[in-house]
């Protein structure tokens, strides 16, 4: 398996506060990993470091063999490192279909074209309807985002990420704030992600994590404290102590 994302000894501190400490991890093609940890463990900081919104104090990041530690965040996206947002960041007054069109145009390097109809461009005309239909968004294709359900907005986030054809996909709480029924639709979509891409999901919903991930990475106080298959991680006494305390003490078993 080829390694798509390699993070080595990534650290970041704000003054004396260490928010990421010597984090190393590798994602392979086809990986389905989840990053979990209590609030304030540094999950979002980690995502920001990897996507380039935040510069690391030390360490190294490689995307498909290319050093991107100093690359600008837009450059990382173009190289195939794509993220979704924890809170849906879609354009409220733009039609659903136009979001997907814009992402496809950008991927094709045609978003700067100053003439012509976006929908006459072959890649948009062929791909956009397909992805919208696959995610069940075709019926709301012409609606502005402000008129569609929150779960559909999350699916749209996913659609945007997918048409960018990522090598590595970072999903920041893809099902956060979505009612149960709609969450199932999102989970189905997650299960059907292209098999060759590496996916790292950050998620609070442990049930969802354990259904989706084949590998779980536990972050606490800015460092990785445990890594392995879901069952092994759930059984780890250290993890139970820092993170799964309520689960371990409660009636539910994991």
């Amino acid at each position: 398996m080829t390694i798509l994302l390699k993070v080595e000894d990534l650290s970041r501190s704000f003054g004396g506060l260490i928010v990421a400490s010597n984090i190393s991890l590798a994602l392979e093609s086809g990986d389905r990993a989840a990053l979990i940890g209590p609030n304030g463990a540094g999950k979002t900081t980690f995502i920001n470091l990897v996507t380039g919104s935040l510069a690391p104090s030390s360490g190294r990041i490689e995307l498909a063999g290319k050093d991107i530690t100093r690359a600008a965040s837009v450059e990382r996206v173009r190289l195939g490192l794509v993220r979704s947002f924890q809170v849906s960041r879609v354009f409220r007054e733009m039609a659903v279909r136009d979001h997907v069109a814009l992402a496809i145009l950008q991927r094709e390097g045609k978003s700067g074209r100053m003439f012509g109809d976006p929908w006459k461009i072959a890649a948009v005309a062929s791909e956009a309807p397909a992805i919208l239909e696959e995610l069940g968004l075709a019926v709301v294709a012409h609606e502005p985002v402000s008129q569609i359900a929150y779960g559909q907005q999350r699916l749209l986030e996913l659609a945007i990420a997918l048409v960018l054809r990522p090598k590595v996909l970072l999903l920041d709480e893809p099902a956060a704030g979505v009612p149960r029924g709609e969450a199932r639709r999102i989970e189905q979509a997650l299960a059907r992600l292209p098999s060759d891409i590496a996916v790292l999901m950050i998620e609070h919903d442990i049930d969802l994590v354990f259904r989706f991930a084949r590998r779980v990475i536990v972050l606490a106080a800015g460092r990785i404290i445990c890594e392995g298959p879901p069952a092994a991680v759930a059984a780890d006494p250290h993890v139970r102590e820092v993170y799964l305390g309520s689960y371990a003490n409660g009636s539910r078993s994991v």
């Binding site: 450059e75 074209r113 100053m114 012509g116 929908w119 960018l164």
Partner: protein
């Protein structure tokens, strides 16, 4: 629905954009022509409306489409006006060449001022834009050997258009020249707004972080739109220089920039039609109401603006649509 027909429904437009664009452009030409016939004694005012229309359209491109906050847009308009005026005084009298000069001067000013104000956003951007227009105003005042300072740049007498249509005392040529220009520019801008680039700019306006997460470098895109906007404003400035034969300091003023923003909001910031409607309503209002009540006209404009912002947040251009919806709703009530 079969999957093929679903795909088609995603692709198809609710209305065919091209034909509605064509109808809109024709409507402007027809209304502009009608105004020429109906108000032959007000061609001076009508020409000033045309020049302002370029200016407000230009502002619409950056504020309405890209979400850039600016109260200093007159730097581009003024650059176009002074450049066209200066070149004309220096001997380049062909009006079409002067329009090109104005467009280029506006574009350069757009690129330069854009490079400065687009580094920031929101309130700092607004303040920077005001600072820029005040600076340029002071510079134009100081450089009186070129601009004529507070006396204005005078002695602009352009040659006949295409060597055939001389600029007359009544302003007929100036108006028709401006109207043809406006129709052409409007048609181009409609295409621009619907293009992939237009879509990208609207995305930037709504959430630039999201657009950046798609791999877009936002800053160069905005500079490009700002440059285009500068060219459009520059055409408006050049037109007023050609039509009136004089360029004053008020063409690079904060007040003129602010008025453009009022016109844009009045008509509807996110629509090119809104820009035109706002311009016509505001300028007409200014002309007639200020003549009738020189001290109170601004209060009346203020009241109008408040009413529009409260009851038609998308501007006057949204009025017909809302009116139609009401009408249809009413009909449905009757039938049920």
């Amino acid at each position: 629905m079969t999957s093929a027909s679903i795909a088609d429904s995603v692709k198809e437009k609710k209305t065919t954009a091209l034909s509605s664009d064509l109808i809109g452009t024709l409507a402007i030409a027809v209304l502009g022509g009608a105004a020429y016939v109906v108000f032959p004694d007000d061609l001076g005012l009508l020409t000033r409306i045309l020049a302002a229309a370029f200016f407000v359209l230009s502002l619409c491109l950056v504020t309405g489409i890209c979400g850039i906050a600016t109260l200093g847009h007159a730097v581009m308009y003024g650059a176009g006006a002074y450049a066209a005026g200066y070149f004309c005084v220096q001997g380049l009298t062909d009006p079409i060449a002067l329009i090109v000069v104005g467009a280029m001067a506006g574009a350069v000013m757009g690129a330069v001022s854009g490079a400065i104000i687009l580094r920031t956003s929101g309130l700092p951007q607004l303040v920077l834009s005001i600072a820029l227009v005040q600076l340029m105003h002071a510079a134009a005042n100081k450089a009186s050997s070129i601009t004529g300072g507070s006396d204005g740049l005078i002695g602009i007498s352009p040659a006949p258009v295409l060597g055939l249509f001389a600029f007359d005392f009544y302003g007929r040529t100036a108006y028709l020249f401006g109207l043809v220009l406006l129709v052409c520019v409007f048609a181009v801008l409609q295409r621009l707004v619907r293009s992939p680039f237009g879509l990208l700019c609207r995305g930037i306006m709504q959430d630039r972080v999201r657009v950046a997460a798609m791999g877009v470098s936002v800053y160069p895109v905005l500079i490009r739109m700002y440059t285009i906007s500068g060219a459009v404003a520059g055409i408006g400035g050049a037109l007023i220089a050609i039509a009136t034969g004089v360029v004053g300091l008020d063409s690079v003023s904060f007040a003129w920039s602010a008025e453009a923003l009022v016109m844009l909001v009045l008509g509807g910031a996110s629509s090119l039609y809104g820009a035109l409607i706002g311009t016509v309503v505001f300028m007409t209002f200014e002309h007639f109401v200020s003549a009738a009540s020189p001290f109170h006209w601004l209060a009346i404009v203020g009241a109008l603006l408040i009413a529009v912002v409260l009851f038609l947040p998308k501007g006057l251009q949204s009025f017909p649509a809302r009116f139609l919806v009401k009408l249809r709703g009413g009909r449905r009530d009757h039938s049920s």
